[in-house]
């Protein structure tokens, strides 16, 4: 029988140690399918490591991939803090990307100083609006937001396909379902010469800093934590539950929407229906690995991005499927969940 005794205090070392041990366990577990697939495990992991950070190019690629994950990870972390399980970052990302294209590809003709904020603002608004629906359904009708946000992901993706085959289709796109490119003035500038890394990363990092201050230092942050931990007590104390939930939902959706704008305006330049490679879902893993701490989202996103980028390199070299990256990331989520138990409780085996 297993017994859990709540810990009175968990040191930072324990928190970080448990997190790292969990990630280590995830890699160890992922070694099993790798070995079964016939790959030399040690070399495969080494290749992943090199592919993720071995060269300047690899490093910038990892940071480029981390950029949308910072946004979606923060979107999940903020919402989960208030026990609002937003699993719809994938859909909100696309909604944001569509809004970014709508605002940035000619509808507004303005210099970059105006157009870039307009594009980002449009994307944030679109993501927020999309997340308000499940938040309202949860707050007003008690409908589980996990199921509604998941289902909306499919609806949004179909809507995007419809738009890309219809009004948003680029007449110069050679028949491919893709949008017109955004104007040059809407493009987020690159950070490193001749690399794909762009200013979206800085916006993401800034968002994490702001979120950290809001959660830890403001009345609103305290309200969010109170509502998330014990909504009954928060309501009894007169904290406006509905308003707090709607604000958190809108913020979370807006952050996921920014991920879409950042990908369109920073990386791709136009919208396709395969813009996101599961960034919305990976964001959940990022948030959990970060322990829902806004500042920890940054390293967590870089780590998860590194796994994906490194696995691509490894896959090209060794011919082992790059789905191993998805596998490692999924295992990380489960292992971090279990690791969290050791932080909250002293686990005794009787």
């Amino acid at each position: 029988m297993i017994r859990f005794e709540p810990r009175t205090r968990a040191s930072l070392g324990l928190v970080v140690g448990a997190r790292l041990a969990a990630l280590g366990a995830a890699f160890l577990l992922a070694a099993i399918p790798l070995a079964v697939a016939g790959a030399p495990v040690g070399r495969a992991f080494l290749l992943i490591l090199q592919g993720a950070g071995g060269t300047l190019f690899a490093l910038t690629e990892t940071l480029t991939r981390a950029t949308p994950l910072i946004f979606t990870g923060l979107a999940a972390a903020v919402a989960f803090r208030a026990r609002l399980f937003n699993i719809g970052a994938e859909g909100q990302l696309y909604a944001g990307a569509l809004a970014a294209v709508a605002a940035g590809s000619g509808a507004i003709d303005a210099p970059a100083g105006i157009l870039v904020p307009a594009v980002l603002g449009a994307a944030a608004l679109a993501g927020a609006a999309l997340m308000l629906v499940p938040t309202l359904l949860k707050a007003r009708l008690g409908v589980d937001e996990v199921v509604t946000t998941l289902l909306l992901n499919f609806v949004v993706l179909l809507f995007i396909q419809m738009m890309l085959e219809g009004p948003f289709k680029d007449p110069m796109g050679g028949g491919w379902p893709q949008s017109e490119p955004v104007l040059d003035a809407a493009i987020l500038p690159p950070l490193v010469e001749r690399m794909r890394l762009h200013a979206g990363l800085l916006i993401g990092v800034a968002a994490c800093l702001v979120a950290h201050v809001v959660v830890a230092r403001t009345v609103f942050g305290l309200q969010v934590r109170a509502v998330g931990e014990n909504a009954n007590a928060a309501a009894y104390a007169g904290i406006p539950i509905l308003r707090t939930m709607l604000l958190v939902g809108a913020l979370s959706g807006a952050l996921a929407g920014l991920a879409g704008a950042s990908e369109v305006a920073g990386l791709k330049g136009y919208l396709t229906a395969d813009l996101s490679r599961g960034f919305g879902y990976a964001g959940i893993v990022v948030a959990m690995v970060a322990g829902l701490q806004p500042l920890a989202v940054i390293p967590a996103a870089i780590l998860v991005a590194g796994v994906f980028v490194g696995a691509d390199t490894m896959s090209r070299t060794m011919g082992v499927s790059n789905y191993i990256a998805d596998l490692i990331v999924a295992l990380s989520l489960l292992c971090v969940l279990v690791g969290g138990l050791f932080v909250r409780f002293r686990v005794r085996f009787a």
Binding site: E229, Y236, A237, G238
Partner: protein, 512 residues
């Protein structure tokens, strides 16, 4: 007459939770046909001991033996309710263990047939249950869903569950807490009948009166130790009380004080109840400045609706409810602005947010005040300073303002809530079951604070199931029965018997 044979022997059982020793080498015997009272304050270790007997917990040290069918004592395998049931031990928990969406019959047969058997044999079970009801005098409709039963009926189902399994030892944990005095009498009659048929009973209680009324023998627990084990016949109540508390308890003294102007006034207030439960039915009464008005009654008679109304968490009522002549609001913020301080019934569920620290919980109700924030940013230093002051003033035992509140004991959490409520100088305090689950020391501190508030001219509305508490601190007491409140009567003319009659619904005179 030789003593009847032993049916249960608990030998030197010790149980620790972290640093807390809940049971310290407790030994206990139970004989056939005997009612043994386990007397002690909240937190004395009574329930822990019985949970070990029943296999919910595993003891760190010590053994338990139970007599088998032939009368020989056999060791009971630890940590298995199934083994305890098989050995003939049945337990009625204070919080009933019933599945509300299932019928009475389904709850009774749950776990009595091996899981892989292809049939429930419900008709057979129904016949056996009918026979048991006949024999024991406990009756309840076997086809009804448990969710639709009253508390008293649910308790009967719990006892029937135990009898259905042919238990030889019945453990009752605070069984009268949810009953009117009249219903408790009925329960005692059933218990005497069961004992004369050969059952042995362990009766957990912290009420002296009922222990002397029902038990043959009493074992007193204090701070996890057994401090007495004696026949009830020779014991005096004062002696038992001293054993239980371990010191002289000075009762809270209520100084005479003339009440002031009416503060909270309800006239013909009606609120629909949640589901099938009663809400409020044309309730009229008032609380004046500097007086404590008590609301007695068995829980579930509308006290929840009354508390929600005054706390601002309930629906908008019909009739008029005013405070200081102005309408009482319908949101927590509105009633707090009107000067109401609220002590919720369930402090863990509604009172505090466990992961927030003591300082944050103290300001939870005043987040919009300029003392707490500047431009939306928390004034952490001011907040912590205030927390330190409250910790000092209210004797809150905790590591400091930054300790997560879930680490505090129930009594200390209640002190945090008291500090939060009283430091705002409320006009009226709503105290809903403020001492439930607290030990005598912590309960005394709560009473002292409420009486001090009364001295300052604050009105107090005290909702409680503990009649002794009401009689000792209130100026006037009304009784809630099925959503109605009798006109509060001055405590000087009230007795336990009179309150009992009113609670049973025989005082039909209505509040003016």
């Amino acid at each position: 007459m030789s003593p009847s044979p032993l049916v249960l022997r608990i030998d030197a059982v010790t149980k620790r939770f972290g640093a807390l020793v809940a049971n310290d080498a407790i030994s206990l015997d139970l004989r056939r046909g005997e009612i043994l009272a386990l007397l002690g304050e909240n937190g004395a270790g009574k329930t822990t001991l019985m949970n070990i007997l029943f296999g919910h917990y595993v003891a760190d040290e010590g053994t338990i033996e139970v007599a088998d069918g032939d009368g020989g004592l056999r060791p009971l395998p630890p940590g298995s309710p199934g083994a305890a049931l098989a050995a003939g031990v049945g337990m009625v928990h204070q919080h009933f263990a019933l599945a509300e969406s299932l019928t009475v019959l389904e709850n009774v047969v749950l776990g009595t047939r091996t899981a892989w058997s292809p049939s429930l044999r419900l008709s057979e079970a129904r016949a056996k249950l009918a026979r048991l009801m006949e024999e024991s005098g406990l009756s309840v409709d076997p086809g009804r869903r448990v969710g639709a039963l009253t508390v008293g009926e649910r308790q009967r189902v719990e006892i029937l569950k135990v009898l259905y399994r042919g238990a030889r030892i019945l453990v009752l944990d605070e069984p009268t807490a949810v009953l009117t005095p009249g219903e408790a009498e009925g329960l005692f009659a059933v218990l005497r009948r069961l004992v004369s048929a050969g059952l042995s009973i362990v009766f957990i209680s912290h009420k002296l009166g009922e222990v002397t009324a029902i038990a043959d023998r009493v074992a007193v627990l204090r701070g996890g130790r057994k401090v007495a084990d004696q026949s009830v016949a020779g014991a005096s109540r004062a002696e038992l009380a001293a054993l239980m508390v371990g010191r002289e308890v000075a009762p809270s003294r209520r100084m005479p004080r003339a009440p002031g102007a009416p503060l909270l006034v309800l006239e013909g207030v009606s609120v629909p109840g949640p589901g099938a439960r009663p809400g409020l039915d044309a309730v009229s009464f008032s609380v004046r400045e500097g007086e404590i008005v008590g609301v007695a009654g068995v829980s579930g008679n509308g006290q929840g609706a009354l508390a929600a109304l005054v706390a601002g968490t309930g629906p908008r009522p019909r009739g008029t409810a005013t405070i200081d002549g102005r309408p009482l609001g319908a949101t927590p913020r509105a009633v707090m602005r009107a000067g109401v301080g609220r002590i919720p019934e369930d402090r863990h569920h509604e009172g505090v947010v466990g992961s927030l620290d003591v300082a944050e919980n103290l300001v939870l109700e005043t987040l919009d005040s300029p003392e707490v924030h500047r431009l939306g940013f928390l004034r952490r230093r001011v907040i912590e300073e205030r927390a330190r002051a409250a910790i000092q003033a209210y004797d809150i035992r905790c590591p400091g303002p930054e300790a997560p509140i879930r680490l505090l004991s129930g009594g200390n959490i209640q002190k945090v809530i008291l500090a939060r409520v009283l430091d705002r100088d409320p006009r009226l305090v709503l105290a809903n079951q403020p001492t439930r689950g607290l030990d005598v020391g912590a309960a005394g501190a709560v009473h002292r604070r409420l009486l001090e508030a009364r001295e300052r001219g604050t009105g107090v509305l005290l909702i409680s199931e503990d009649l002794d508490e009401l009689l000792s601190v209130c100026d006037r007491i009304g009784v809630m029965v099925r959503g109605r409140l009798t006109a509060p009567e001055p405590v000087e003319g009230l007795t336990l018997e009179r309150l009992g009659l009113l609670m049973a619904g025989s005082g039909e005179e209505r509040a003016a």
